[in-house]
Structures are given as C-alpha cells and as structure tokens.
C-alpha cells in the first residue's frame, strides 16, 4: 500500500508517494539519493543512520518514511551552511574524529542533538550520549574530543 507524504528535508520540500513499509533511511538513500545517511544494522543498534527529525536525533533505519510526514528532516548533507562546515564537522576534521567515515554522519547528527540539549557537556556526558552509536575505528577517543571542540566553538 502506498501512502502520500509531505516533508521538508534539508530545507527543501518533498511531496512523494511511498510504499507504507519503506523505512525513512531507505527513502532518503534509494528514492532521494541522499546516501550520506548510512545503514549498518536495521535494528537501531549502530546509529550510523542517525538524522534529525524536527531537531531530535532519530535512527532512520527503524522509522517509517510515512511517520516522517509533516516533519522537518536534517541529514548530514544539510548540516553545513553556505558551504562552510558546521562546527561539529570541523571538530571531527580537526580532532581526527573519523577514519573510515561510515559511522561519521550518524555521529555528527547525534552530536548536533546533544549540543542542542546540552551546549557544554563534560566527557562523561558525551560518552553517555554516544552510547547508541557504534564506531569500530576510533575507539571513540577522538570523537569525544571532536565534540568538545565543537562545543567550545559553538559557545564562542
């Protein structure tokens, strides 16, 4: 069964008909070609599919596209403004918070949600916030530092 959805993604309006069982992550990747959102597990465990839905971090592999009807979605492709890296993206580059890059979009989007809720998190708060996102490359050490860098920069 197809359902009609209207939503905003990275500031652009979309009006589409999707199979009711289509997951949001697959809608973004297969239908819209927004392949920055990755899929690592299909069970909400790895967090690489994390995006922002109405400003909150959501694992898009287990949210139906239909559920995003009427929402405002931001993906990794939409977080940089005017061609400049977002401070979180910059933090990951400066602090070597990524290696293979596969978990990175999810980490960046999760960090955006964290810093929105808690602009000045300490190390333990960052580590706790990252609990739902796996990284197999970095041992998280530099991801923590990347988010600290971003927090400092965003706090000006």
């Amino acid at each position: 069964m197809n359902v009609k959805i209207n939503l905003t993604i990275n500031g652009k309006s979309y009006s589409d008909e999707v199979d009711s069982r289509t997951m949001l992550a697959l809608y973004l990747r297969d239908e819209l070609g927004l392949t920055g959102t990755h899929i690592g597990c299909d069970t909400s465990s790895c967090g690489t599919c994390t995006i922002l839905v109405d400003g909150k971090a959501v694992k898009s592999c287990t949210m139906l596209a239909a559920q995003a009807d009427g929402s405002n979605v931001t993906t990794i492709e939409g977080i940089a403004q005017n061609g400049n890296l977002h401070p979180i993206q910059e933090g990951f580059k400066e602090k070597h918070g990524l290696q293979c890059g596969f978990c990175t979009p999810g980490m960046v989007m999760l960090a955006a949600d964290l810093l929105d809720r808690n602009p000045n998190p300490n190390e333990q708060e960052i580590r706790h916030a990252l609990e739902g996102n796996y990284c197999r490359c970095t041992g998280y050490h530099n991801i923590v530092e990347s988010i600290q860098y971003a927090a400092e920069k965003m706090n000006g």
Partner: protein, 786 residues
C-alpha cells in the same frame, strides 16, 4: 620537511563529513537489480529439495539461481590462497567452497540460492517464497570436540576434521628437556575466543556485465581489489583478467574481514552476465555476522619454564585452530605463520616449540582479524608472564625487564634471530616498558591498590609487552611458507605536465588515511604543496596492480614502492635539469622543489622540469619524454613494531562488572609520517583489543547455531565502556625500508587484550582466581569471586 612528521589534517575528511563518501551500496547503475541470498538456517544439513516456482511467478522477480545452476555452469568455488602442509608432507585438506551449495550445507549462513529482483524488497519477499527442504545432520562447532572420535564430519575428504598439523621451533625433545630442568613451570589452558569483525559498513557487491565490450565490473567492499580480480578471473569464473575491472570505492572499515574474496562477489559477477543487467547485493547485519570471516578461535595449552632467578628457559604451546567450515583466503596462514613465529615475543627464551592443528567445524570460516595470529601469540605469552610473576611472587614488570632481548638497531647491531624463524629488524624493548611504567606511576598505584583492598575495593594492574611482524612480506619468504601470491606492492608516480602529481597505489585505504599520509611523503620528496598531489587507489583500471591493505603493510611496503618511483622521477628530472641549466648532473642538488647548480643561484623548478619532459623541444639527447614511473617493491624483511600496554581496572565485588579506569599504551612503530593518524590507529586497535578482553565473543550452541548473531546480542565496546587513552611512543626506525616505518594498524589490538585480562586477574588475586576465559563478563567474574 614541510609535511612529514606533522599532524596534517586529512584530505579525505571533507567528503565523509558532508555525506559525499561513495561506498559500494551508494552506487546505483542504470537498470540495476537487487539480490537476496537465501542462507542455510542449519549448520549441517542435506538439501533434499528446492522449489522456486512460487517465487519465480512473483512480479518483479528477475531470476533465481541455485547450487544446481552453479554446478551445471561449471563455476568453481572460491579458492584458498595459502597452503600449509601436514607434518608428514601431505598437502592440507582443501575442500571446495561453492558459490551456492547444491548438496550439503556446512554452516549457518551457507549460500543456498540467490534471488534477483527489481528491488531489495521484492528480492527479500521472493526469497521468503522459495521452499527449501533440509534433512538436518549432526554438527560440531568447537575445535576440541571436532577432533574427537565420532565427531560429526564436516568434509568427507578431511577425516577427523583435520585440515593440517604443523610445528615450528626447536625440536620437541629439546624443549621438553629444558622444561624438565625448569625451576618453575607456569601452565595455562584457555580459549582465545572467536570474534566477529563487524566493520560498520556491511559487505556489498555490485556485478555489472556489459555485453558490448564483453567486460565485467565488480564494485566491492574490499581491502584487496586486485587480488579479488585475480581470483575471480583465474580461479572462480575463468574470465580473462583484462576483461574484469574491480573497484573498491570508499570502504567502511575492514579490520581484515574485507581482505578475502567472498562467494557473493563472484556470484553477482557471474549472474550479471546471465541476466545481462547489473546486480547489487548488500549484506544485512545478520548476514555479516554469519558470513564475514571470523577471527581467532584457538584452543590452547601453553607452558613457560623459568629458572630460579626468573629467566625464561622454555616455551611449549599446543593449539587447535578452528578454521570454520571452509578455508577462507588466508585462513591456514593465520594460526601458523602469523602465530607460531611470534612466540619469541620480546624475550630471550632459548627453547620454543609450537604445535598447531587446523580443524574444520560447522561454523563460519575463520581468517585474519585485526592482528591475525599475533594477538593470539601475544595473549598466551603475556598471560603466562603475569601468571608466572604471581606464582613466583615476582613483580610482573621486573620479570619482563629481566627477560627482554637487549636493544639493537639493526644497523650497528645485527637483527635478532628468533627460535621461531624470524629475524627481528630493530628494537628497544626496555624503553617502551619503562616509559609506560613512568606514565602509570607504578609505585603509587601499588600503594593505592593496597589501600583500596583494605576498603573492600578491588583494583588491578595488568601488563602486556608485545611484538608483531608487519609489512607483509618478502615474496620469496612467504612463498616458501605456502603463500600462493607475492606480497610486494606497486606504486606509480605520474608527474603531470603542469607539475601536479598523481600517485597510483596498490594499497587500499578504508580508514587509514592514505590519501593524506602518502601525499605528505610525495609532497615533501618533490618539494611541492600537499594539494598538488592526489592519491588514487582501489580501482584495478587505474592502478596497475596491488596486493591491498592488511598486516600493517601500507606505508612500509606500499609507501616504499612509491618512494622507488619518486627516486626514478628525481633521477630523470636531474637529467632534464642538467640539460636546461647547462651543468653536469653531479653539480646539481635537489631541494625545496628545485634543482640548483651547487654554489650558484642558477636553478630550475620541479614544475618547469615536468613541463619540459612533456614538451621536449630543448631536451637531453636520447632521453624519453614524459615523467611517469611505476615500481614494484618487495620488502627485504617483515617489520617489527613493539610496545608496552598497561591497564588499570576496578572490579565491583557485588556485580562482577569490570571498570577500565586507565589504559596506557606506549608503542614503537618506527618513524611516523602523521602522528595524528598513527594515534588514531592505536586508539582504534586498543578499543578492539579491549572488546575481546571484556565484551566480545561468538557463541555457538550444541547444534552449531550462532546464537549471538546481532548487535542486540554480540557486545562491542561503546563510548562509555572506555576511558580516554593515555598514549605515547618511542621511535626505533626500521632499518630496511626507505621511510624507516614499521606499521601501526594492528598494534593496539595486539597489545591491549592481555593487559586488560591481566589487570582483572590482578584485581581478583585476593580471591585466588588465576585464569578466566574471555570475555570477562560480569557474570563470569562474579561467579569466580564466589
């Protein structure tokens, strides 16, 4: 040097940070179809019938292939790339590994059929409609059980489930005599448990046959695209190699699991020709758990003998290595040549014997996983050392310092010849441990530990000092040891007419940052800007050849090949410069991007020389135009990074949970091109090693069902399980490669596991607990304390 030795920020980051990475599953080709592989739910079963008719009738289903189709087409199975013979000289048992099984499935996840459809969803729906009848047979998952009389047999032509048996080191009787004369023997029986690599990007493959040019393209999540091409063309599908292009685009982590040639890669290539359309297959995570080659899985008895002063006098090791149901590409090499040869460790042990038996079981194939054999060797040595220290009432750090091989640089002092076939290149083992002890504040810790115990808190400290053999490897040596491939690397340096440089390397980056590190080297050697260098990798159509990235080999072997080509460029450049400057070549020097006539201000820049090479109007007589060189580099020896890791843990008496409080790593990986990237490699390796110690381990039940094959069940370290790492390094250059580098990819995973386990054992010493199996889960630790 402008770039070498500096923490240059990575050039690849921008695309990854903006969602513009291009991983295999991101690629969509016109007319693409999607494959779903139907996999065996049983570990061992006879296929008695397959009915595809209902599925075939579904709208959107393009084709369904079964094992019978593969057999009828005469398609071979995937081959093994390393041969280890039985002690009596008999060839190892090498049963076929078919792309789709026609008769008897041999592990949970074994390929039974492939459904191809217009979409992922239709392929999956149709797969549900394929009816397969199985007759379930007895299965065995554990290597120790598989070698017992009457155990279920995996392959009819491998009696007793034996693949090979193998021995290395001093003759057994000599080692037995040394052990008989020992003042003290420490003995441990343990399992180095099976790990599942779990790169976060699931494996994916796209096969694309184009009839117009009779050309096959495979996009695949590979660390090793050229080897995959060679195996597909020459061994599996019999397609002329020049008609096959293999592209490994951005790859989301490998850790060994993407070195190997997998059945699905050959399947999509073969089937693409049958249906004349591109086919994409991407694993779901449960398929990754069942079909990515696993790691470790050794059942070991190890004994170390000491004299009265604590000097090691002998080491005796017996290992059963679980190889799984089929031989993965490099499986036989891992528990033998990558394990037995590392049992000298950092110590002067005079007599060593290691005996390894390779065993088939009804489980997923086992192959190289981060460290590959070396973590298993290090684990047994370092557990023996800390246990012996406890038993002999000696300090574990002192015991190591007493037994270390004295420092040698491989130049003034010769390399160190081990009892187990290697010649270490250079090392200063005391220095790394002393630095680590300084960082941890050892004396203070022991006081804190004593006070904590008095207050009912159980702190522990654990040591691990390791060596690894990297930079794989001298081709003639590995050939003599059973490798069916050379292990050189290829580096092509093409200076463009404008002086910009394209470098084509056979190494493959899947997180290691080659596009930055290699560019740093090239930019400095030519005295040009980093931005003027591009590093191309992962495409057999642009890179002439290569042996891929694994075994911490990329810079030591691949970087050395690039250096050879750089030298050729500079040699030719000097001829052109001499001509243009009307000077003798011997009077020129090259620095900061230009050739200068010594003692004058006459010079010509790198870019002008490049342009002259392509516009050779005023040019040295007889010299070929152009500036493009390719080199093969075959290393003279392995490289031998080493280090000292120290863990501090606190064990909760009430719950058994282990809190890793501090982790100190001092590693020596030779010269360092980009410290930031090397530190990142160490962090990641350490985290994976900690994962083995505390969290990870594949569990098979008595029917050889993998019962923790999902992220809900298989535990990997998350951010709040780990502390911030405290790391430092010493530098002992490699004496036999031009950059003096040794490799950093595996170090962390090799050193960290025993450090953590030793720390937990130290914490548990008041309870009389000496040995526990990994992973050290709260339940296991709590039970041991009761």
């Amino acid at each position: 040097m402008t770039y070498i030795g500096k923490s240059v920020k990575r050039v690849e980051d921008k695309r990854f940070l903006t969602g513009k990475g291009r991983y295999t599953d991101d690629i969509v080709l016109p007319g693409m179809t999607y494959a779903c592989i139907i996999r065996s739910p049983y570990a061992h079963a006879k296929i008695t019938g397959i009915d595809t008719s209902a599925a075939e009738g579904m709208e959107g289903v393009v084709a369904i292939f079964t094992g019978k189709d593969i057999a009828a087409a005469g398609v071979n199975g995937v081959p093994c790339g390393w041969q280890v013979n039985f002690k009596n000289g008999d060839t190892m048992k090498e049963p076929p590994h078919p792309l789709l099984v026609a008769d008897v499935v041999k592990h949970v996840g074994d390929n039974v059929a492939m459904v191809i459809a217009e979409s992922r969803e239709i392929a999956k729906d149709a797969a549900e409609m394929v009816e397969i009848d199985y007759e379930e047979l007895d299965a065995v998952a554990n290597a120790a059980k598989a070698v017992k009389d009457g155990a279920p047999q995996v392959h009819p032509d491998a009696p007793g489930n034996l693949c090979f048996d193998w021995e290395l080191g001093n003759p057994k009787e000599e080692v037995d005599a040394a052990m008989d004369a020992a003042h003290h023997i420490t003995k441990l029986d343990f399992t180095n448990q099976r790990l599942i690599p779990n790169a976060i990007e699931p494996r994916s493959a796209i096969g694309h046959y184009e009839s117009a040019g009779d050309k096959y393209t495979l996009y695949t999540t590979s660390q090793n695209p050229h080897l995959t091409r060679l195996l597909i063309s020459a061994f599996v599908l019999g397609i002329p190699e020049h008609r096959v292009r293999v592209v490994a685009p951005d790859v989301g982590g490998g850790f060994g699991s993407k070195i190997f040639h997998y059945t699905e890669e050959a399947l999509v290539v073969w089937a693409s020709k049958q249906i004349n359309r591109p086919i994409k297959w991407t694993a779901e995570r449960s398929e990754s758990f069942m079909t990515d080659a696993h790691g470790r899985d050794h059942v070991t008895t190890a004994e170390m003998g000491f004299d009265a002063e604590g000097n090691i006098v002998g080491l005796r090791v017996n290992t059963l290595a679980n190889l799984g149901a089929y031989l993965s590409t490099f499986a036989p090499c891992v528990p033998t040549w990558l394990h037995g040869t590392l049992l000298q460790g950092l110590y002067t042990t005079p007599k060593i014997n290691v005996d390894v038996t390779g065993v088939f079981t009804h489980t997923t194939p086992v192959d190289a996983y981060r460290g590959a054999g070396r973590p298993e060797a290090t684990y047994l040595l370092e557990r023996l050392l800390d246990t012996a220290a406890l038993e002999m009432n000696m300090d574990p750090a002192e015991l190591r310092l007493k037994n270390f091989i004295p420092p040698f640089d491989g130049v003034e002092q010769e390399g160190y010849a081990t009892q187990v076939a290697l010649q270490y290149d250079s090392g200063n083992y005391h220095r790394v441990l002393e630095r680590a002890l300084e960082m941890v504040g050892y004396d203070d810790f022991r006081k804190e530990q004593a006070e904590a115990r008095a207050n009912g808190k159980y702190l522990g400290i654990g040591f691990s000092t390791y060596i690894e053999a990297c930079g794989i490897a001298p081709s003639a040596v590995v050939g003599a040891l059973g490798a069916r491939a050379g292990l050189y690397e290829v580096g092509q340096v093409r200076v463009q007419p404008t002086g910009k440089v394209s470098v084509y390397t056979g190494a493959h980056s899947h997180g290691q940052g080659h596009e930055t590190t290699f560019a740093q080297v090239v930019a400095d050697k030519f005295g040009i800007a980093l931005d003027d260098v591009e590093i191309v990798h992962g495409d057999s159509e642009s890179v002439a050849f290569g042996m891929g990235t694994y075994g911490s080999r990329s810079l030591a072997v691949g970087g050395s090949a690039i250096i050879k080509s750089i030298e050729k460029v500079l040699e030719k450049g000097a001829k052109i410069a001499a001509h243009k400057l009307e000077a003798a070549e011997g009077d020129l020097e090259f620095a900061e991007g230009k050739w200068t006539v010594k003692g004058t201000d006459k010079s010509i820049g790198f870019g002008d020389v490049a342009l002259t090479a392509y516009v050779p109007h005023d040019y040295p007589e007889g010299l070929e135009p152009g500036m493009d060189f390719s080199s093969f580099y075959d290393p003279a020896n392995f490289t031998y990074p080493f280090g000292a890791h120290i863990a501090i843990v606190e064990v909760d008496k009430d719950t058994g949970s282990v809190k890793l409080k501090r982790f100190i790593a001092v590693d020596d990986v030779g010269n360092v091109i980009n410290p930031m990237i090397v530190d990142g490699q160490i962090h990641g390796g350490v985290a994976q090693g900690i994962g083995q110690a505390l969290f990870e381990g594949a569990i098979y039940d008595e029917n050889a069902q993998l019962i923790n094959g999902s992220y809900m069940d298989y535990t990997m370290p998350r951010a709040d399980d780990l502390p911030a790492f405290e790391i430092d390094r010493t530098v002992t250059p490699c004496p036999h490669n031009p950059l003096g580098v040794k490799g950093a990819g595996e170090a962390g995973a090799i050193g960290s596991t025993p450090a953590v386990v030793n720390a937990v054992m130290d914490a548990l010493s008041p309870f009389g607990v000496k040995n526990l199996e990994m992973p050290l889960t709260p339940e296991r630790v709590w039970r041991a304390m009761q």
